[in-house]
Protein backbone atom coordinates (compact mmCIF):
# COMPACT_ATOMS: atom_id res chain seq x y z
CA UNK A 1 0.00 0.00 0.00
CA UNK A 2 1.48 3.37 -1.05
CA UNK A 3 0.82 6.55 0.92
CA UNK A 4 -0.20 9.48 -1.29
CA UNK A 5 0.07 13.08 -0.23
CA UNK A 6 -2.95 15.29 -0.90
CA UNK A 7 -1.13 18.61 -0.69
CA UNK A 8 -2.93 21.42 -2.47
CA UNK A 9 -1.41 23.74 -5.07
CA UNK A 10 -1.99 26.64 -2.67
CA UNK A 11 0.13 24.91 -0.01
CA UNK A 12 3.00 24.41 -2.45
CA UNK A 13 3.05 28.05 -3.53
CA UNK A 14 2.60 29.31 0.02
CA UNK A 15 5.64 27.22 0.95
CA UNK A 16 7.48 28.78 -2.00
CA UNK A 17 6.63 32.23 -0.60
CA UNK A 18 7.84 31.28 2.88
CA UNK A 19 11.10 29.93 1.41
CA UNK A 20 11.64 33.19 -0.47
CA UNK A 21 10.95 35.26 2.65
CA UNK A 22 13.43 33.15 4.63
CA UNK A 23 16.04 33.62 1.89
CA UNK A 24 15.50 37.40 1.88
CA UNK A 25 15.79 37.47 5.69
CA UNK A 26 19.05 35.50 5.49
CA UNK A 27 20.40 37.92 2.87
CA UNK A 28 19.37 40.89 5.01
CA UNK A 29 21.05 39.46 8.09
CA UNK A 30 24.20 38.93 6.02
CA UNK A 31 24.50 42.73 5.97
CA UNK A 32 23.51 43.25 9.62
CA UNK A 33 26.23 43.89 12.25
CA UNK A 34 25.46 40.82 14.37
CA UNK A 35 27.92 39.04 16.67
CA UNK A 36 29.50 36.17 14.71
CA UNK A 37 28.13 33.33 16.87
CA UNK A 38 24.57 34.70 16.79
CA UNK A 39 24.81 35.27 13.03
CA UNK A 40 25.93 31.66 12.41
CA UNK A 41 23.25 30.27 14.74
CA UNK A 42 20.46 32.24 13.06
CA UNK A 43 21.70 31.23 9.59
CA UNK A 44 21.80 27.56 10.56
CA UNK A 45 18.29 27.71 12.02
CA UNK A 46 16.98 29.42 8.87
CA UNK A 47 18.79 26.89 6.68
CA UNK A 48 17.32 23.92 8.58
CA UNK A 49 13.85 25.51 8.51
CA UNK A 50 14.07 25.80 4.72
CA UNK A 51 15.30 22.22 4.51
CA UNK A 52 12.40 20.96 6.62
CA UNK A 53 9.89 22.87 4.49
CA UNK A 54 11.28 21.42 1.27
CA UNK A 55 11.45 17.91 2.71
CA UNK A 56 8.11 18.07 4.50
CA UNK A 57 5.96 19.84 1.91
CA UNK A 58 7.58 19.45 -1.51
CA UNK A 59 8.91 15.93 -0.88
CA UNK A 60 5.71 14.90 0.96
CA UNK A 61 7.58 13.62 4.02
CA UNK A 62 4.96 14.97 6.39
CA UNK A 63 2.47 12.53 4.81
CA UNK A 64 4.78 9.52 4.98
CA UNK A 65 5.10 6.91 7.69
CA UNK A 66 7.26 7.81 10.71
CA UNK A 67 9.48 4.80 9.93
CA UNK A 68 10.44 6.29 6.54
CA UNK A 69 11.00 9.75 8.05
CA UNK A 70 13.23 8.25 10.75
CA UNK A 71 15.23 6.32 8.15
CA UNK A 72 15.98 9.62 6.40
CA UNK A 73 16.56 11.70 9.54
CA UNK A 74 18.86 9.13 11.13
CA UNK A 75 20.53 8.13 7.87
CA UNK A 76 21.18 11.62 6.63
CA UNK A 77 20.94 14.34 9.20
CA UNK A 78 22.32 12.60 12.24
CA UNK A 79 25.22 11.15 10.24
CA UNK A 80 25.88 14.60 8.83
CA UNK A 81 25.68 16.17 12.28
CA UNK A 82 28.14 13.59 13.64
CA UNK A 83 30.46 14.31 10.71
CA UNK A 84 30.38 18.03 11.41
CA UNK A 85 30.48 17.59 15.16
CA UNK A 86 33.56 15.37 15.09
CA UNK A 87 35.49 17.20 12.37
CA UNK A 88 35.08 20.90 13.10
CA UNK A 89 36.33 20.93 16.76
CA UNK A 90 39.46 19.14 15.54
CA UNK A 91 39.93 21.79 12.89
CA UNK A 92 39.61 24.57 15.46
CA UNK A 93 42.03 22.77 17.80
CA UNK A 94 44.69 22.09 15.21
CA UNK A 95 45.81 25.73 15.16
CA UNK A 96 46.42 25.58 18.91
CA UNK A 97 48.50 22.41 18.79
CA UNK A 98 52.28 22.62 18.79
CA UNK A 99 54.55 20.97 16.17
Amino acid sequence: MESRATTSLKTYWTTWGVLLVLTIVMLGLDQAPLPRLLFVAVMLVAMLTKAMLIAGVFMHLRAERVALVLMIVVGLFINGAILFGLIVPDAVRINEMGP
Partner: protein, 208 residues
Amino acid sequence: MTDVTSSTIASSTALGRWDGGTCPFDAGWKKVLMWAFIITDGLLFAGFLGGYGYARAMSTVWPSQAEVFAIPFIAAMTFVLISSSATMASAVWAVENDRPQLARRFVWATTAGAVIFLGMQAVEWSNLIAEGVTLSGNPFGDPLFGAYFFVTTGFHGSHVLIGIIVLVTVSLRLGRSVTTTENVEMAGLYWHFVDLVWVFIFTLFYLV
Protein backbone atom coordinates in the same frame (compact mmCIF):
# COMPACT_ATOMS: atom_id res chain seq x y z
CA MET B 1 -2.83 -21.64 8.63
CA THR B 2 -2.61 -17.98 9.71
CA ASP B 3 -5.69 -16.43 11.26
CA VAL B 4 -6.65 -13.54 8.94
CA THR B 5 -8.09 -11.35 11.69
CA SER B 6 -5.07 -11.61 13.98
CA SER B 7 -2.65 -11.05 11.07
CA THR B 8 -4.62 -7.96 10.01
CA ILE B 9 -4.48 -6.62 13.55
CA ALA B 10 -0.79 -7.52 13.82
CA SER B 11 0.05 -5.71 10.56
CA SER B 12 -1.57 -2.54 11.83
CA THR B 13 0.61 -2.35 14.96
CA ALA B 14 4.09 -0.91 14.89
CA LEU B 15 5.74 -4.27 15.57
CA GLY B 16 3.36 -6.15 13.35
CA ARG B 17 4.37 -4.10 10.33
CA TRP B 18 7.90 -5.56 10.51
CA ASP B 19 6.82 -9.19 10.92
CA GLY B 20 6.82 -9.85 7.21
CA GLY B 21 4.19 -9.86 4.50
CA THR B 22 3.51 -6.11 4.78
CA CYS B 23 5.11 -2.86 3.63
CA PRO B 24 6.58 -1.31 6.79
CA PHE B 25 7.12 2.06 5.12
CA ASP B 26 3.69 2.06 3.41
CA ALA B 27 5.42 3.19 0.23
CA GLY B 28 6.14 1.48 -3.06
CA TRP B 29 9.61 0.09 -3.78
CA LYS B 30 10.40 2.99 -6.12
CA LYS B 31 9.84 5.57 -3.40
CA VAL B 32 11.79 3.66 -0.73
CA LEU B 33 14.74 3.12 -3.07
CA MET B 34 14.65 6.72 -4.29
CA TRP B 35 14.88 7.83 -0.65
CA ALA B 36 17.75 5.37 -0.09
CA PHE B 37 19.52 6.95 -3.07
CA ILE B 38 18.82 10.46 -1.70
CA ILE B 39 20.32 9.48 1.66
CA THR B 40 23.53 8.18 0.06
CA ASP B 41 23.81 11.16 -2.31
CA GLY B 42 23.14 13.50 0.60
CA LEU B 43 25.96 11.90 2.56
CA LEU B 44 28.23 12.59 -0.43
CA PHE B 45 27.50 16.31 -0.09
CA ALA B 46 27.74 16.05 3.71
CA GLY B 47 31.28 14.76 3.18
CA PHE B 48 32.16 17.68 0.91
CA LEU B 49 30.66 20.23 3.30
CA GLY B 50 32.27 18.53 6.30
CA GLY B 51 35.66 18.72 4.63
CA TYR B 52 34.97 22.34 3.69
CA GLY B 53 34.06 23.12 7.31
CA TYR B 54 37.31 21.53 8.47
CA ALA B 55 39.46 23.43 5.95
CA ARG B 56 37.75 26.71 6.76
CA ALA B 57 37.89 26.27 10.54
CA MET B 58 41.63 25.56 10.49
CA SER B 59 42.45 28.27 7.99
CA THR B 60 43.50 31.72 9.11
CA VAL B 61 43.29 33.25 5.61
CA TRP B 62 39.96 32.00 4.23
CA PRO B 63 38.63 34.45 1.58
CA SER B 64 35.80 36.74 2.57
CA GLN B 65 32.55 35.90 0.71
CA ALA B 66 31.77 39.57 0.10
CA GLU B 67 35.13 39.98 -1.64
CA VAL B 68 34.85 36.90 -3.84
CA PHE B 69 31.15 36.42 -4.68
CA ALA B 70 28.45 38.66 -6.14
CA ILE B 71 25.83 37.80 -3.52
CA PRO B 72 22.85 39.38 -5.42
CA PHE B 73 23.70 37.13 -8.39
CA ILE B 74 23.79 34.07 -6.13
CA ALA B 75 20.51 35.19 -4.54
CA ALA B 76 18.96 35.25 -8.02
CA MET B 77 20.24 31.71 -8.63
CA THR B 78 18.62 30.62 -5.36
CA PHE B 79 15.33 32.25 -6.39
CA VAL B 80 15.41 30.38 -9.72
CA LEU B 81 16.06 27.03 -8.06
CA ILE B 82 13.42 27.44 -5.35
CA SER B 83 10.88 28.46 -8.00
CA SER B 84 11.76 25.43 -10.11
CA SER B 85 11.14 23.25 -7.06
CA ALA B 86 7.69 24.82 -6.67
CA THR B 87 6.85 24.21 -10.34
CA MET B 88 7.99 20.58 -10.00
CA ALA B 89 5.75 20.12 -6.94
CA SER B 90 2.93 21.64 -9.01
CA ALA B 91 3.66 19.13 -11.77
CA VAL B 92 3.26 16.27 -9.29
CA TRP B 93 -0.03 17.83 -8.09
CA ALA B 94 -1.26 18.11 -11.69
CA VAL B 95 -0.46 14.51 -12.53
CA GLU B 96 -2.10 13.30 -9.27
CA ASN B 97 -5.24 15.24 -10.30
CA ASP B 98 -5.33 13.67 -13.80
CA ARG B 99 -4.12 16.75 -15.66
CA PRO B 100 -1.10 15.42 -17.60
CA GLN B 101 -0.88 18.33 -20.06
CA LEU B 102 -0.76 20.86 -17.21
CA ALA B 103 1.84 18.64 -15.53
CA ARG B 104 3.87 18.70 -18.74
CA ARG B 105 3.85 22.52 -18.74
CA PHE B 106 4.99 22.61 -15.14
CA VAL B 107 7.80 20.15 -15.92
CA TRP B 108 8.93 22.33 -18.84
CA ALA B 109 8.91 25.36 -16.50
CA THR B 110 11.06 23.36 -14.07
CA THR B 111 13.43 22.43 -16.89
CA ALA B 112 13.70 26.09 -17.92
CA GLY B 113 14.59 27.01 -14.34
CA ALA B 114 17.22 24.28 -14.26
CA VAL B 115 18.81 25.47 -17.52
CA ILE B 116 18.82 29.10 -16.28
CA PHE B 117 20.42 28.02 -12.99
CA LEU B 118 23.11 26.03 -14.78
CA GLY B 119 23.81 28.97 -17.11
CA MET B 120 24.17 31.32 -14.13
CA GLN B 121 26.49 28.81 -12.44
CA ALA B 122 28.61 28.76 -15.61
CA VAL B 123 28.78 32.58 -15.57
CA GLU B 124 29.85 32.52 -11.92
CA TRP B 125 32.53 29.93 -12.62
CA SER B 126 33.81 31.89 -15.63
CA ASN B 127 34.13 35.07 -13.57
CA LEU B 128 36.01 33.32 -10.78
CA ILE B 129 38.35 31.54 -13.21
CA ALA B 130 39.02 34.89 -14.96
CA GLU B 131 39.95 36.34 -11.56
CA GLY B 132 42.52 33.57 -11.05
CA VAL B 133 40.64 31.09 -8.85
CA THR B 134 41.80 27.55 -9.67
CA LEU B 135 41.74 24.15 -7.99
CA SER B 136 45.23 24.79 -6.55
CA GLY B 137 45.25 28.50 -5.76
CA ASN B 138 43.57 31.89 -5.86
CA PRO B 139 44.46 35.55 -5.26
CA PHE B 140 42.04 35.91 -2.34
CA GLY B 141 43.50 33.71 0.39
CA ASP B 142 43.70 30.05 1.35
CA PRO B 143 44.67 27.96 -1.72
CA LEU B 144 42.14 25.24 -0.73
CA PHE B 145 39.23 27.64 -1.29
CA GLY B 146 39.08 27.05 -5.05
CA ALA B 147 39.24 23.27 -4.72
CA TYR B 148 36.38 23.10 -2.22
CA PHE B 149 34.30 25.60 -4.13
CA PHE B 150 34.66 24.09 -7.59
CA VAL B 151 34.31 20.46 -6.44
CA THR B 152 31.21 21.10 -4.29
CA THR B 153 29.40 23.38 -6.73
CA GLY B 154 30.61 21.23 -9.62
CA PHE B 155 29.05 18.11 -8.14
CA HIS B 156 25.86 20.06 -7.49
CA GLY B 157 25.90 21.37 -11.06
CA SER B 158 26.33 17.85 -12.42
CA HIS B 159 23.27 16.82 -10.41
CA VAL B 160 21.37 19.72 -12.00
CA LEU B 161 22.49 18.54 -15.46
CA ILE B 162 21.30 15.01 -14.74
CA GLY B 163 18.07 16.53 -13.46
CA ILE B 164 17.58 18.34 -16.79
CA ILE B 165 17.92 15.03 -18.64
CA VAL B 166 15.41 13.40 -16.25
CA LEU B 167 12.95 16.30 -16.56
CA VAL B 168 13.07 16.36 -20.37
CA THR B 169 12.50 12.60 -20.41
CA VAL B 170 9.54 12.91 -18.01
CA SER B 171 8.03 15.69 -20.08
CA LEU B 172 8.34 13.75 -23.34
CA ARG B 173 6.81 10.66 -21.73
CA LEU B 174 3.96 12.74 -20.27
CA GLY B 175 3.28 14.07 -23.74
CA ARG B 176 3.02 10.52 -25.09
CA SER B 177 1.02 9.35 -22.02
CA VAL B 178 3.47 6.52 -21.33
CA THR B 179 4.51 7.47 -17.80
CA THR B 180 2.86 7.02 -14.42
CA THR B 181 2.05 9.39 -11.56
CA GLU B 182 4.61 7.58 -9.42
CA ASN B 183 7.39 8.14 -11.98
CA VAL B 184 6.70 11.89 -12.07
CA GLU B 185 6.73 11.91 -8.26
CA MET B 186 10.11 10.13 -8.23
CA ALA B 187 11.53 12.74 -10.65
CA GLY B 188 10.11 15.35 -8.29
CA LEU B 189 11.84 13.78 -5.30
CA TYR B 190 15.18 13.94 -7.14
CA TRP B 191 14.67 17.57 -8.15
CA HIS B 192 13.67 18.66 -4.63
CA PHE B 193 16.81 16.91 -3.33
CA VAL B 194 18.92 19.01 -5.73
CA ASP B 195 17.19 22.15 -4.35
CA LEU B 196 17.74 20.91 -0.79
CA VAL B 197 21.49 20.52 -1.37
CA TRP B 198 21.64 24.07 -2.77
CA VAL B 199 19.99 25.38 0.44
CA PHE B 200 22.97 24.00 2.37
CA ILE B 201 25.61 25.12 -0.16
CA PHE B 202 24.10 28.63 -0.41
CA THR B 203 24.14 29.08 3.37
CA LEU B 204 27.49 27.45 4.19
CA PHE B 205 29.55 28.68 1.23
CA TYR B 206 28.07 32.06 0.42
CA LEU B 207 26.56 33.44 3.63
CA VAL B 208 28.14 31.99 6.79
